[in-house]
Amino acid sequence: MALRTEELILNLGPQHPSTHGVLRMIVTLEGENIVEVAPDIGYLHSSVEKMMEYRTYVQSVSLADRGMDYLAALANEEALLRAVETLGGITVPERAQWLRVIFLELQRIASHLVWLGTWGADLGATTMFLWCFREREKVLDLFERATGGRLHHVYFRPGGVCDDIPDGWVEQALAFCDEFPGRIAEYEGLFTANPIFEVRTKGVGVLPRDVAVNLGASGPVARASGIAFDVRKAFPYEKYAEVEFDIPVQQAGDCFARYQVRVEEMRQSTRIIRQAIAKLPPGEIRAPKIPITLRLPKGEVYTRTESPRGDLGVYLVSEGEEHPYRVKIRAPAFSNLYALSEMMRGWKIADVIAILGSVDIVLSDVDR
């Protein structure tokens, strides 16, 4: 006689410590196996898009910092200002463009370090958490010296950056670039060959390439599924066309592949920072005659940038006022989050946290 079984609906979150913010997952279980996962979002909705309609473009920069992806504030500023500068026809001076490249890549390293550390903590490796945050502090110190803020900088302005870097900053950044690859090797020493880590991640949560394309996944999640797409290469902005770097691609599409892609991305970011520092020209850091209440011409524009989480797009409509008529943010974490149910289906309940952590979602980016 067969056992009578029934499906169990389990509610994970929104206050679960491993859900990286306030994500609620409604997991349908058949015994221990996952039948369906429905992410329920909206707990961190801060209405950034609407608030931007009532603020000038310079004020919106500070909003993009904290309202969107709080782990990659500079990437958000860049995404918003790409749209503003494209629509307004503002040319950014050379030095400011190189500075932006340096800061964006430092931000990518900082964001990936948070991801690696917290994912390690999810999988039970507390050492990883402490080590990653140790290096992240060094990046944040660099940010603090140049921008005055550690997490929320308000450093980029329409037409350039706010301040030039202080004396000795370049040496400090280069010292970090010298030290950091050795640290990445340490992380890999802890993780890559570790059998416990392998068992928990290799082959777990596979996202096939065609599914990733259909769901609009981008960034490291898509690159781990074999899609060699990076906005920095495909649609170069700022000075990314003039630096050499590789797009790390893995074919497996599992958690381990996503880990490999991100770790390699940190190495590539270090490479970009070195090149950008070598090419940093002297000169102006801000385009002249950009008023603090900037008025953009009537029109609309869609621009995309590569944030640490993927393809971050901003659609901006201007009616010729001081503030935008409408801003729509295409958040990478949102699309990546909806690949979650595809990744988790068929796996055990114990794998939920490993798979969720590997996607690198930031709920403030998902909800905006």
Binding site: R66, G189, P195
Partner: protein, 158 residues
């Protein structure tokens, strides 16, 4: 069975490697500070609390009541009121709601006379929310005791 033994050997190797790394970290210099007793140096550009530095000779601040900081503030936390006309115009109210402030630094950037500056101070926690409404006297008191040299804040010499 051979596969299992290989697996065990691999696990032992990985364990040894992990322990080697953690033990090397043990003898490295420490990265942490005992926070309330020791403090990290903060950058001169630090977005700390806001202040209105006072000129010790005249006892006045540099504010010319142009309302630019009030207008540019994204969270609208600065409130300025003034009476009188022309040269007799005096500041009757300069309040900053520090609980609303997001430390973006736009007010410091637009100020034409460097009247409002960031001070490298960050411990503003209090038990009463009303204490976070900083009046003009509070902002004068929060200012650094030595006069801030002109150009240092704006030109970011440090």
């Amino acid at each position: 069975m051979a596969v299992t033994l290989g697996r065990v050997w691999q696990g032992a190797q990985a364990l040894a490697e992990g322990l080697r790394l953690t033990f090397t970290a043990l003898v490295r210099p420490k990265n942490t500070v005992k926070y309330p007793l020791e403090k990290n140096d903060i950058s001169p550009r630090w977005h700390g609390l806001l202040a209105l530095p006072v000129d010790p000779e005249t006892g006045n601040d540099q504010c010319i009541i142009c309302f630019q900081c009030e207008r540019v503030c994204p969270s609208r936390c600065i409130h300025i009121e003034a009476t009188g006309r022309g040269k007799e115009r005096v500041l009757t109210r300069f309040d900053i709601e520090m609980d609303k402030c997001q430390y973006c630094g736009l007010c410091v950037e637009v100020c034409p006379t460097e009247a409002i500056v960031f001070v490298p101070h960050y411990e503003a926690s209090t038990y009463n929310r009303a204490n976070l409404l900083y009046s003009l006297e509070d902002l004068h008191r929060a200012a650094p005791k030595e006069p801030v040299a002109r150009g240092v804040v704006r030109g970011r010499v440090l």
